[in-house]
Amino acid sequence: MLIDVNAWLGTWPFRSLRDNTPDALITRLDRSGIDKAVVSYIEAAFHRHPQSANERLARDVEPHGDRLIPVGTINPLSPHWEDDLTSCIDFGMRGIRLFPQYHNYQTDGAEIRSVVQACAQCNLPVFIPHRLEDVRQHHWMDPGQSLDLTQLANLIAAVPSAAIIIPNARPLARSPLWMREDLRDLNWYFDLSLAEIHYGLHKSTNAMKDLGYLIEEGGANHILFGTHLPFSYAGPALVKLAILPVDEEMLEDIKYRTAAKLLNF
């Protein structure tokens, strides 16, 4: 079993994506040997009030419930977002996606804390992507900002009961999040999409290893399998999975067991 915690449907305004419909994505998952994928509509990041995208997601994913796991999007600045959260739960969404950079709020502010607290009370994991696209190529209409992981660490500290997944993060071992030793026992997770394991472009032998160093330091239980399909190739995450320096039990956790638990399967 392999669960991808980092996949998408829909349109990215600045570059054509392939395999971005439910049927096409499932074909791509089949080709990649991935059994299930967590999906949201990309457009929700650009909608001031993303509930219509959530409704479309629920409708479009429903026929593919065995493969695609819907995750709704909340904008904490949208009036009555609590109603959207209730609606997402009614739709069977397995988590909530937040976009501080796109909906324009602080990652450790009062607004996001309220949403994360509410999700924790409902036992829903929260997905906060570190970035959607490489900021070095961002279109002038895109904010071109990566998530502030120092602020994210503050958020995790403020809502310690929450489960928070941060797809597309890099680097990991030197991130302000891993540096916060007081947070290492809490439920937050990186994915395999971007970080390198054994060697990277850094002039220090420890920094070179990044994901490998995170594992050496005891952080393997903070790793999930994620690809960032269809923005990114699935191959990089699959290659990393094949060479991860972890034992069989930990590998099964990374492949699906931890994700299944978080997603309440």
């Binding site: 570059r15 994506l17 392939r18 395999d19 089949d30 080709r31 990649s32 040997g33 696209e133 490489d134 900021v135 070095r136 190529q137 961002h138 002038w140 071109g144 890099r170 999409s193 971007l194 390198e196 394991i197 054994h198 060697y199 990277g200 472009l201 850094h202 002039k203 220090s204 032998t205 070179m208 290893k209 960032h228 399909l229 269809p230 923005f231 990114s232 190739y233 699935a234 191959g235 990089p236 995450a237 699959l238 290659v239 990393k240 999975l241 094949a242 060479i243």
Partner: protein
């Protein structure tokens, strides 16, 4: 058909864009590089140590970088080959440094972002490379303006096209399609370039479709496998690209082998098929 990652990892690869740095502990980093390649089927690395950020460093600061690479080549003779880094504005000193390193066994010349590839200051370097049939690999890309500000003289596709108009026989390699920036832009700019202009797939940007785009624009014979330190990511993007096995073999091996052959060299190890 499901991707066969295990088999793809074992497939032999030449990483033509990587680094060993001039630093304390370079030996350990070189060993780490080789060990990581063992896990990914990379049989040899073409490495450089460079002066970054466009710094026009004094001439005496260049040779220690190349000496580090020569030492790494001696430490791992079957696995590490060298790119000779030079700053073309050092004129005759740059030529002499390139000749010293090529005579010592390096296989090409590495340029960073001190000058664009079409700058006339590079003409002696381009002539040397053409004469000796060695490739030039240059740091390149088309980042957005705020990221370009720190490297105003970074080359992109149009500069390679212009350089190749004057030196059509020079083997020029645009580094890292995934190095950060609008990769569609820089690749499109090379449509009219000489067939001796290549691009490598390295870099931390793993956008889906990137490799196929380079192949469709330039032809599979002009796309090279490199990592620039994004090891599993670069292997993964080529394995996942919608290409035939023959096309993948061109990228992982045959194109680099052909570049070596032009200077009378060959891969350090025979390619053993799966």
């Amino acid at each position: 058909m499901t991707l066969d990652i295990e088999s793809g990892i074992r497939c032999p690869k030449i990483d033509m864009h990587c680094h060993v740095w001039l630093m304390d502990g370079w030996e350990q980093s070189a060993d780490q590089l080789v060990a990581s390649g063992d896990m990914l089927g990379i049989t040899e690395y073409w490495c450089s140590s460079i002066i970054q950020q466009g710094i026009l460093a004094p001439v005496e600061e260049v040779p220690p970088h190349n000496d580090t690479i020569l030492s790494a080549m001696a430490r791992h003779p079957k696995r590490i080959r060298g790119w000779c880094f030079v700053i073309p504005g050092h004129f005759q000193d740059a030529i002499e440094e390139a000749e010293r390193c090529l005579d010592a066994g390096m296989i090409g010349i590495k340029l960073y972002n001190q000058y664009r590839i079409n700058d006339p200051v590079l003409h002696p370097i381009l002539e040397l490379a053409s004469e000796r049939r060695v490739p030039i690999l240059q740091h390149a890309g088309y980042p957005v303006p705020e990221h370009r500000a720190s490297q105003p003289l970074i080359s992109h596709g149009i500069h390679f096209t212009e350089a190749s108009e004057k030196y059509p026989d020079a083997i020029l390699i645009h580094a890292h399609i995934g190095g950060g920036g609008d990769w569609e832009h820089t690749v499109r700019e090379m449509r009219q370039a000489s067939p001796n202009v290549y691009i490598d797939v390295s870099g931390s940007n793993l956008d889906d479709g990137q490799v196929e785009y380079a192949v469709s624009e330039l032809g599979v014979e002009r796309v090279l496998f490199g990592t620039d330190g994004t090891m599993a990511g670069s292997v993964g993007k080529v394995l996942d690209a919608d290409l035939s096995e023959d096309e993948r073999e061109h990228i992982f091996w045959t194109n680099a082998e052909r570049i070596l052959a032009q200077q009378g060299a060959a891969p350090t190890e025979l390619r053993i098929r799966n």
